[in-house]
């Protein structure tokens, strides 16, 4: 197949960027989107031109490195799929494909399609951990967890921190990411000790960098792990409760 790429090119942080057009003939529809970019870069290299910089690692949709805005949708047109798992067969022959980096103040562009997502690290540092007991490993199944709870916590833990939720959000809000990170611990018995401290810390850290949620639901559609905005409601609920709780009585309920 033959496609035309319109790609954001930017030399470095803070440098001005533009959309450049690249002709990409002889693309197999079996290629993944990143493989297609590899082929285009190979050709650019052989012409002595600077290849398109993009981030990638596992290429199996679980590391969260890759991610770009493709034809107006984060991670492109297929639902529940990271850019690396998107295949060229999802595009039509002769199609014009627009590719841009995630755009948010918290995600400065480093080069071309690569953004700096360390703002996410600040949110995790603010409470995305549990107090682990030291000593011998506890028996398996020592702490009973209802199936529904385990499933919900696992759904939240599926977050790969790719940043698509922020990129897709008209407000550049990180509510879906933060609520996933809050809830995969807050839903489990092991996460209860820091539950309210965690939600306060992580929401406060989030709001230093990101916008606020207006419940458009774009993040849920963009998420390659199909994380539900239900978690945003759970996080909001915990945040309000955290304001009112008497922390001295935490172990009583």
């Amino acid at each position: 197949m033959h496609v035309t790429l319109h790609v954001w090119r930017q030399a470095g942080p803070g440098a001005p960027g533009t959309m450049e057009t690249y002709d990409a003939p002889d693309i197999s529809e079996e290629m993944s989107f990143l493989e297609m970019l590899d082929v285009v870069n190979e050709r650019l290299n052989s012409q002595g031109r600077e290849p398109i910089a993009f981030e990638h690692d596992c290429r199996e949709g679980i590391c969260g490195s890759c991610g770009m805005m493709i034809n107006g949708q984060a991670h492109g047109p297929e639902r529940g799929t990271a850019t690396c798992q998107l295949h060229m067969r999802k595009f039509a022959d002769g199609e014009h494909i627009y590719i841009e980096p995630w755009r948010a103040k918290a995600f400065p562009v480093l080069r071309d399609l690569v953004v700096d997502r360390s703002a996410f690290d600040k949110i995790v540092e603010a409470g995305g951990y549990i107090t682990a007991p030291t000593g011998a490993a506890p028996d398996a199944n020592l702490t009973l967890i209802p199936k529904d709870v385990a499933d919900a916590a696992m759904d939240a833990a599926a977050c790969i921190a790719c940043g698509a939720c922020v990129a897709a959000c008209p407000n550049s809000a990180a509510q879906l990411f933060t609520s996933a990170k809050v809830n995969h611990l807050n839903l489990l018995p092991q996460g209860q000790s820091e539950r309210y401290q965690r939600v306060l810390g992580m929401v406060d850290a989030m709001e230093e960098f990101f916008g606020s949620c207006t419940n458009h639901g774009e993040c849920q559609e963009a998420c390659p792990k199909e994380i539900s905005i239900d978690f945003i409601a759970y996080m909001n609920r915990d945040y309000v409760r955290a304001q009112l709780k008497n922390r001295k009585l935490l172990s009583q309920d």
């Binding site: 107006g72 841009e100 550049s172 230093e208 409601a233 909001n236 609920r237």
Partner: protein
């Protein structure tokens, strides 16, 4: 050709003040807290618009009933509280709800604008965002401007040349007999319906009210509520424009002299 890039991270766009404030202030300072306040004040305003519309349906029973209803609002709890005091308590609550709703909306909009980088070069292919959710701040502004005009028109009467204090029925008919006013009323209420379509659903998420058992009903509720308000409010100017409700009913003024003393003032002014 491996390259190394330095990741220093973005600077915070909303740095937190280092001094902690008392918890209600701290709560309202946060975006999540402001959204909670928007949801609660939104619920109060929804309650107001619901009962305001229900009460105004009395216009279809004629001038006597409608003006009697207006008088009733001033006399709620009268033996316990002096006349109009209860009404004023409700009004103060309403003013506070409006103030918080608007301030939170303004402040959250600023917060989002600061977090947004330069927009995408390509046009976005929206998957879930609706015209309603994306136009909340504009429909909100239209409704707010309408409320101001509505007060000048039907509460203070300065924007209504035929205004007679106390004769709500006549004022309503006089107001909607001016076509531009009726059209503005229709447009503003269409904006209100669009605002409610998103807001009446969104508030559940902001309050953290989420349960798989009834999640689907949150959107059904929003559609039903917006439609109900729309049908009631859009019917009033249409009824006047089509002549279904008309000033002829004003003859009833003679009959309701005992209900509203000011009616006689009106008759003296308009022999």
């Amino acid at each position: 050709m491996a390259t190394t890039m330095d990741r220093t991270g973005a600077e915070p766009v909303h740095p937190r003040p280092t001094r902690r404030a008392p918890w209600p202030v701290e709560f309202y300072r946060s975006g999540v807290g402001k959204k909670w306040v928007m949801a609660i004040t939104g619920l109060l305003l929804m309650g107001f618009v619901f009962f305001h519309s229900i009460g105004n349906l009395k216009v279809y029973l004629g001038a006597e009933d409608f003006n009697h209803y207006g008088e009733f609002l001033r006399e709620i709890l009268v033996p316990i509280l002096p006349r109009t005091i209860f009404l004023w308590l409700m009004r103060l609550g309403l003013i506070a709800a409006f103030a918080f709703h608007i301030h939170a909306a303004w402040s959250l909009t600023r917060m989002n604008q600061r977090a947004n980088a330069d927009g995408y070069q390509q046009s976005r292919d929206w998957q879930a965002a609706t015209a309603a959710s994306r136009s909340m701040r504009w429909t909100g502004v239209v409704v707010a401007l309408f409320v101001v005009f509505h007060l000048f028109d039907l509460t203070w009467g300065t924007a209504n040349p035929d205004y007679v204090r106390g004769d709500g029925y006549r004022n309503l008919v006089a107001s909607f007999s001016r076509t531009p006013v009726a059209i503005f009323y229709l447009l503003a209420n269409a904006a209100l319906v669009i605002h409610l379509f998103h807001g009446a659903w969104s508030l559940f998420q902001s309050l953290g009210l989420n349960n798989p058992r009834w999640n689907a009903w949150r959107k059904h509720f929003a559609i039903a509520f917006a439609a109900l308000i729309g049908v009631m409010n859009l019917s009033f100017p249409l009824a006047v424009m089509t002549g279904l409700v008309s000033a002829d009913d004003n003859d009833a003024c003679t009959k309701r002299g005992d209900v509203i003393e000011r009616c006689t003032e009106y008759e003296e002014a308009h022999p």
